[in-house]
Symmetry: C2
């Protein structure tokens, strides 16, 4: 069975939704902190444009990353675990096969 065809039970969808939102909130909160810190350290125009470049990259990255479609969610979670926005144990409640896949992909 391909990863994109994996079935999600109602209970699993609840776990997935909560984990997704948790990771998103963490990353956004960290981004806001980061932008505030970068902005308060601005000394010249170069720093302003560096902040602009940083925001351009982040916007692109976050727009692409938080994709809540069940066909790609295994990969999304693996990426979030790899980057530290989510812990594997926060996905408890997903079936063993999914957790194994996510853990394996996160180590890649």
């Amino acid at each position: 069975m391909r990863v994109s065809e994996i079935e999600w039970s109602t209970a699993e969808k609840k776990v997935a939704q909560a984990a997704f939102e948790k990771a998103y909130k963490r990353e956004i909160d960290a981004l806001i902190e980061d932008v505030r810190a970068k902005a308060s350290a601005i000394a010249g125009l170069d720093d302003v444009w560096r902040l602009h470049d940083f925001l351009s990259a982040k916007r692109h990255e976050i727009d692409g990353k938080y994709d809540y479609r069940y066909s790609v969610l295994i990969f999304v979670f693996a990426g979030l675990v790899k980057e530290g926005w989510l812990q594997l144990d926060e996905l408890e409640g997903l079936d063993h096969g999914k957790l194994t896949k996510i853990a394996a992909l996160a180590r890649m």
Copy 2:
């Protein structure tokens, strides 16, 4: 004579350079203040992307505006006077014809 063919004396170039740098510094300093204020007021992700949009627009605007070519300088100064980054009397030392053109364009 077309505006783009106007001659600039050495003394006028000095006045022009100083005025150009003064306006640039003022606008950049104001931009930095503005970015710091906007960043410290960020409450959520929407504000982050609004700051990004603001910086995208400002970068485009400033890149285009500060064009120190003598063929376009009359227009550049008129724009800076119109926007308040430069006072007409800070251009004293330019010949009467140039000052009249700048003042007229700034009122348009």
